[in-house]
Amino acid sequence: MVTLMNNFRENFRLRKYNKIAQQIIDLAPKYQQMSDHELQGQTVIFKQRLQDGETLDDLMVEAYAVAREADNRVLGLEPYFVQVVGAIILHDGNIAEMKTGEGKTLTATMPMYLNGLLGVGNFLITANPYLAVRDATEMGVVYRWLGLTIEAGVLPEGSDDEINKDQVYAADIVYTTNSSLGFDYLIDNLASTKSSQHMQGFRYALIDEVDSILLDMAQTPLIISGAPKVQSNLFESTDRIVKMLDRDVDVKLSDDTKKAWFTETGIQTMESYFGITGLLSPKWKELYRHLVLALKANYLYIRNKAYVVADGEVLLLDEANGRALEGTQLESGLHQAIEAKEGVKVSTQSRAMASVTYQNLFRMFKKLSGMSGTAKTDVKEFRQIYNLNVYTVPTHKPTIRQDHPDKMFVTNKEKIYASVDQIKQAYDQKRPVLIETGSVSMSNLYSRLMLREGIVHNLLNARSEAKEARIVEEAGQPGAITVATSMAGRGTDIKLGPGVKEKGGLLVVGTERMESERIDNQLRGRAGRQGDPGDSIFYVSLEDKIVVQHGPKWVKRFRKTMDAEIQSGKRTFGKRLVKHRFKRIIHHVQVSAEAASRSERFQTLEYDEIFRVQRDTIYQFRDQMMQNDDLQPFIDKIFTDLVEDFAATHHDLTTEDITDFIYNTMNYNYVPNRYRLANLDRDDPSAVSNFLMQELQHCFKQQRAKFTDDAQFLYYERLTILKAIDNAWIEHVDNLQQLKAVVTNRSTAQRNPVYEYQKESKMSFEKMKQTFWQNATKYLLLSTLKYQPNGKIDVEFP
């Protein structure tokens, strides 16, 4: 019923969009007649009309017609009708589902130009830096020709230049990647002065490959790490012990291969290796912690599946797109444990200083829209969380690619042999084939098989990323065989070489189904661009990762029986499974895998919402500190908060407690006034806080007197407060990150873990506040000042 209503609404809206698109096309002659100069002058006219109170929506038809004509004159490309429809969908804050090769880049010029008319804060987010730079260069010509400013927010890979962030974020339109936008946002909020901040607002974001960024990467927050923790030297020794354990006796692996644990025998074995007793006692807590880390590293993280080792470094792989996650580390020492396992240098552990999820980053934009070839499968989630509707833009030419039903086998081996046969056939016909594998190790295996068969091929995986563009370029040529991981799925447009169409176009061979149907569709979509012919087929087996991890128990039993039958010769090797029951398995496991990751995303979102509120509070406060020219009221409030909190939370105060507090927070050289201290009623909180307040004000005046220049003192105040807040906040961020794991156990007491998290994080926030007041006072009053001959003052924090 609800679906029906939505379909109805979608049709209704699409029809409306089509009508508007027709108006835009009809306007073309008007602008075709204009001279270049007149056409360029339209931008000024539009900007004026916006100032006079018209809205972007009012201007859309005309502005799109102008952008379309400009595209034509500058690039020689005139957006088709369907591209105009897509552009309207995008301006309306929706997701446009457009297939590969339908010209998403060109489509984007229209909404970007229109929104760029309002000035800074418009971003086009691409899947990788290469695309951002390429599109900014190619499409940038149009915007500049029309009188808008545009910059690329990233550098091409391998470039050593520095980027001028002020210039980038002052541009009307910025082409950038999600991670560079996110990191710049976080860095901006670690800045100590207004002038070292670069961003100027979040108006409009158009996200390319929106499903990849908002769904697949939702679980991977951007984290800026710093402030190293104490390094441990237990990683190597525990790794050696875990490697010596018996795989079945000492350690157990769960059926879905996602969990591993020590058995009781295992714990005894380890105790005897170390020559200790009570491994689980408080005494050996750290040792056991490292053993657990080593266990996970050795049993759950498999090289060339979860990560690759390159140049003595462990690089994590993104499961959904097979790319290396540069600069991302696993938390809690897991990364170090993997480094120990691989025998590379163990890096220092650092704590999280700032973090943001993509969900929250993009929810800061006033308007959000996205493009993707595959968004339709997750319509519900986009609507629920981001309030984005998905509209399918019809292809310019109908898609004639054939998606064949899966070929299913019992064992991996049978599957691989069968797929290689099909590849050989295509190779003999000189038809290009794209072989897509689920992991780096599978891609290596196929590469070796190809070599054995004497088939010349290219290998595209996380290790050959640099050659990506060239490999993709060749992938559509006659006889080209490309073995790739799922990284071939995004942002690659494989154009067919001469004579390939006649042979049936590109053949996509998937060697296993991925975690979601959406990613499968993404892979299929490499074939059949712009109405070209093409085929896609998946080879699957009951031993595939997704079946093992999410399959029901009977599948496991069935697999074992079949395996035994093959061994005994009862079942012929290589025989396909054709019964309907088996065909549904893949669908079922995929559905439950999707459901699992969806509920994880929802939960992340709920936790993150609480974190977001706190982060916004801090960032707003920082902004206030940087913008205000009079920080005195804030400082007074900090002092009051500090002394009142001290007086209220400490009972049975002794004279020593009070003098200690003064020594530690305001004056190293405090000479106690015995008479006043003796007369102080220490049981009266307000008397205590008054006494402390006087002392504080006195110290503050002394510190103030050391500065002759007002501006210098203001800068000093600002610096100390920001430093105090950052130090307290970093500790708190780290706390919150871990708190999430802590509260999940609370659900056993029938308590809602989200509320528990909220309660605990609130308490942690209160603690952070106290630390902040204390630090701010300390930094302000106890910092050592060193005067330089040139009038500068160096500050040394206590």
Partner: protein, 410 residues
């Protein structure tokens, strides 16, 4: 804790208010053609049904659209939870859509059964309704069941809406009927003929005992045992890594089902078998007016207390989850040893929790053996306790919501 109002909270309260209004409205709509007073007369004798209705948000005493209330849905959720005890992995792997479908299917089946039972009780009155005259009695029978089932499913849907948009979740749907039934609980109670008299002295006693009971129960409801937990993958020694086990591990749930279970056997007695020894035993002892009966009732509560403790806590699952994430208690090996420890602790807590439940349930009954007029307090306090646990949940939720956006640095 200070509560600051915010928009989200206002919105949620408005939703719940709206839903409760609709619920109340539905409870006023008498099924078509029914003579309400006659029907009530017929239903009065069915104490079991009425009691069950009271504690599950229904209103079995008169034939209305929402007579079944949220009962079928709640029972289905509890059954579902119980099933996870036996096949946790299979159920946890189910996508939300599939488990949701099964939960609603069970709801539907229970609603049909309960509807059938209710209409069966009303079969004599049914014949006189216009519906029966037009469509025939059999068709009317089915039609009325359909209406009741439709009402129950609507309430189930409303409960879901409340869980998503409102406040208090599923339990909120039974709060109004529970609260309004409290006074009548004292007067009519289980229909055992013992009436509480609202004299001045009695009312004063009632108010004082109620106040003491409420504050004590709220306190116990929040009490929990905290087992300090070691989490190798969490580095910070952040205060608060513990595994809680509630004092009232079963909550007030035993009271929701104790009377029904206690009385079910009496339905096995018919005119034909009433002279059999077991039937005589049931007839003589499964009542609240003798010591044996009271002790059996206490045993039912103890049994339910343990059952719900396990259903709520799922010690096997908890132990497995701890093992999977590498967490442990000092000096206890992950896996079986941890599970044994958890079960021991759970049994320990449940024992004392049960003591309290039994104390609440049978003290008034024992008093009632000697002094008439106080036995019904047993059911009054039982219902009050259900109410307290529900409302305590709501309070917790309001607090969390109110403080969600309440941050400032100075």
């Amino acid at each position: 804790m200070r509560i600051r109002w915010n928009k989200d909270l206002t919105k949620r309260i408005a939703w719940t208010a709206l839903l409760l209004m609709v619920l109340e409205l539905g409870r006023q709509i008498v099924l078509p053609g029914m003579d309400a007073s006659q029907a009530e007369q017929a239903l009065r004798n069915n104490t079991l049904m009425k009691l069950f209705g009271n504690v599950t948000g229904g209103q079995m005493s008169s034939p209305t659209l929402f007579s079944l209330g949220v009962g079928p849905y709640m029972t289905s959720m509890i059954l579902w939870q119980a099933v996870t005890l036996f096949n946790s992995e299979g159920i946890q792997n189910l996508p939300e859509e599939v488990s949701g479908f099964f939960q609603r299917l069970i709801t539907l089946i229970i609603a049909i059964l309960q509807g059938f039972q209710m209409v069966y009780t009303l079969r004599k009155i049914l014949a006189a309704t216009p519906i029966a005259k037009i469509f025939g009695t059999q068709a009317a029978f089915v039609l009325i069941i359909l209406m009741l089932v439709g009402g129950a499913m609507l309430v189930a849907w409303m409960a879901d809406v409340n869980a998503n948009l409102g406040i208090g979740g599923l339990g909120m749907m039974i709060v109004p009927s529970l609260a309004t039934s409290l006074p009548s609980m004292l007067t009519t109670g289980l229909g055992i003929g013992d009436r509480f008299e609202y004299t001045t002295v009695n009312v004063v006693i009632l108010v004082i005992v109620t106040l003491i009971f409420v504050s004590f129960t709220v306190y116990l409801n929040r009490a929990e045992m905290r087992l300090p937990l070691q989490r190798p993958l969490v580095e910070n020694d952040y205060a608060g890594s513990y595994l809680p086990i509630r004092f009232l591990t079963a909550g007030a749930m035993p009271f929701m089902f104790s009377t029904s279970i206690f009385m079910i056997p009496t339905y096995l007695i018919t005119a034909n078998n009433q002279n059999q020894p077991w039937a005589r035993f049931i007839n003589d002892y499964l009542t609240y007016d003798n010591l044996t009966g009271i002790i059996i009732y206490g045993a039912v509560i103890v049994f339910l207390g343990y059952a719900f403790a396990f259903v709520n806590f799922l010690p096997t699952d908890v132990a497995k989850n701890l093992r999977n994430s590498g967490d442990y208690f000092y000096n206890v090996a992950p896996g079986d040893a941890t599970e044994q420890l958890l079960i021991r602790r759970l049994m320990f807590m449940t024992f004392f929790g049960n003591c309290y439940l039994v104390f609440v349930a049978i003290t008034p009954l024992l008093v009632g053996l000697n002094v008439s007029g106080y036995a019904n307090m047993s059911f009054y306090f039982g219902n009050l306790m259900i109410l307290i646990t529900m409302i305590d949940n709501v309070i917790e939720q309001v607090r969390a919501l109110a403080n969600k956006n309440n941050y400032s640095l100075l």
